[in-house]
């Protein structure tokens, strides 16, 4: 491994051996219906609380990813996982039963990419050979922590995004030169950027400058142009954040207009009336572990840049009228 500024190059090119995802019924009837391993029948799936359901989803996805690769739990060196709730509630209760060494991560909705970067770095440094990076989010647990009770009759503004109910897990392993699995080749660790947006409904617009900062650093450190990648995906900027990112990069001389999409714009259909698209840790996780991973496996996409975007505010910080600090991490995957 070596680094160029904030960008990392993984010389051994760790591979993404398998992925798994699980979503709620609302996500299940969206645009990516065929790309999920399991669609739950309701937002509780037989559990007594939404938090328990979120833990179940995360544990299910981790076990499924390991299962798909025909590995045992004991083959995994470390799990890196996170979610949106206080004290990483969902994650800790999900990992409780796995008996695998665990490191908890919080990067809000950028957690999956943060996990992918760290897992690849540990594998590249030969500290581990099989790692899990996993995240979860749940619409109802997020609503009740960050906003209003779910049955409260409030009107959501058009800028707001819908937290994805789902979980995704990736099994990242040391490179096996015989396999044709997608490889993690490089990545860029983001800086916290805060452009002063205070409206917590406008998380996409708050995060767009962080995504722009990371992308510009990535392109300049690697000395490439956006067209180097077949597709660039951001995690959950939503409809408005996506337009802002394109404009911010255009001002810096990079053209994103042809090979860029936001995962938050890929999950729901327009009829589902989620306003500005999807958000949450699971937004990038369910799209990457399903649709994007399959495109990489089928070689329809050969070079992909995934940019996880996170808004790092808390319910306390916005009540104290603080703006939204945001972060974005990028990871480059080649098939």
């Amino acid at each position: 491994m070596k680094n160029q500024g904030q960008s990392l190059f993984f010389n051994s090119q760790p591979q993404i051996t398998s992925t798994a995802n699980i979503v709620g019924p609302f996500e299940g009837i969206g645009q990516l219906t065929g790309y999920f391993d399991y669609i739950m029948k309701d937002s509780l799936e037989g559990h007594t609380s939404w938090e328990k359901c979120e833990s179940y989803m995360l544990e299910w996805s981790i076990r499924k990813a390991i299962d798909k690769a025909s590995y045992q739990l004991s083959d995994i060196d470390f799990v890196m996982a996170g979610d949106l709730l206080n004290q990483l509630t969902s994650t800790h209760f999900a990992v409780r039963n796995l008996n695998i060494p665990f490191l908890g991560l919080y990067g809000a909705c950028s957690t999956l990419v943060e996990g992918m970067l760290l897992a690849s770095a540990l594998i590249d440094g030969r500290f581990a050979s099989n790692m899990i990076a996993a995240v979860s989010s749940h619409h109802d647990t997020a609503e009740r922590q960050y906003r209003f009770p779910t049955e409260q009759g409030v009107q959501r503004p058009p800028i707001s995004q819908w937290t994805v109910t789902g979980a995704g897990a990736l099994l990242i392993s040391a490179n096996n030169s015989n396999s044709s699995k997608p490889k993690v080749v490089a990545g860029t660790v983001g800086k916290i950027v805060d452009m002063g947006i205070k409206d917590t409904n406008a998380m996409g617009p708050a995060m767009a400058p962080a995504a722009a900062d990371t992308l510009i650093a990535h392109f300049s450190n690697l000395n490439i142009q956006p067209r180097y990648y077949d597709m660039i995906y951001t995690g959950d900027l939503g409809k408005v954040g996506k337009l802002l990112l394109i404009e911010l990069l255009k001002e810096s001389g990079y053209n994103l207009s042809t090979n860029y999409e936001d995962c938050g714009c890929m999950i729901y259909t327009n009829d589902q009336d989620t306003h500005s698209g999807a958000s949450g840790c699971a937004s990038s996780a369910v799209v990457f572990s399903g649709y994007i991973y399959q495109q990489l496996m089928q070689k329809n996409l050969r070079r992909v840049l995934l940019v996880g975007t996170g808004s790092l505010h808390s319910p306390t910080s916005y009540q104290q009228k603080e703006s939204i600090p945001s972060i974005a991490h990028a990871v480059a995957i080649e098939a």
């Binding site: 049955e151 409260q152 409030v154 503004p157 452009m195 617009p205 408005v240 802002l244």
Partner: protein, 149 residues
């Protein structure tokens, strides 16, 4: 440095405002008008029934509110009131039914944390401020009324 940062933030804020979708004001206002109106018509209907039973207008106020609060709590319980609220906005928040919704919704939501620290403590997270400032306003108006005499 600080100034430059402010300038960047201001420029970005302008950009954001350019793309920010504005709420469909006329559509929202019509929804609020009709849903709010329908709730009031139902309230009037209920009040008339009580008056027909021999109550005065003043006496009928109490039981009418009780019926409206029950209807709202019921609709909240079966998960309908928040759907109405998403369309009607203030139309379903301002009437007493909205107030009932704002108490029942957290009570349902926090039941899983128990009857004391869940329902008991969290029931008024949204309605609480309304009660506090409602009482403060009532006190001030009472004071003005008292001083006038």
């Amino acid at each position: 440095m600080e100034n430059q940062k402010k300038q960047y933030q201001q420029k970005y804020e302008e950009k954001y405002k350019k793309y920010k979708p504005s709420p469909p004001l006329i559509k929202n206002a019509l929804w609020a008008f009709f849903v709010g109106g329908i709730i009031c018509i139902i309230g009037q209907f209920v009040q008339n029934i009580f008056i027909e039973q021999g109550m005065t207008i003043k006496e009928a106020g109490g039981p009418t509110a009780v019926v409206m609060v029950f209807i709202s709590a019921f609709l909240t319980g079966i998960g309908v009131y928040d759907e109405i609220g998403q369309r009607a906005g203030a139309g379903s928040i301002v009437p007493i039914t909205g107030f009932a919704n704002s108490i029942v919704a957290p009570a349902m939501e926090f039941k899983r944390e128990g009857y004391v620290f869940g329902i008991g403590a969290k029931m008024f997270v949204i309605a609480g401020p309304v009660l506090v400032y409602g009482m403060v306003t009532a006190f001030i108006i009472g004071l003005i009324y008292w001083l006038r005499i």
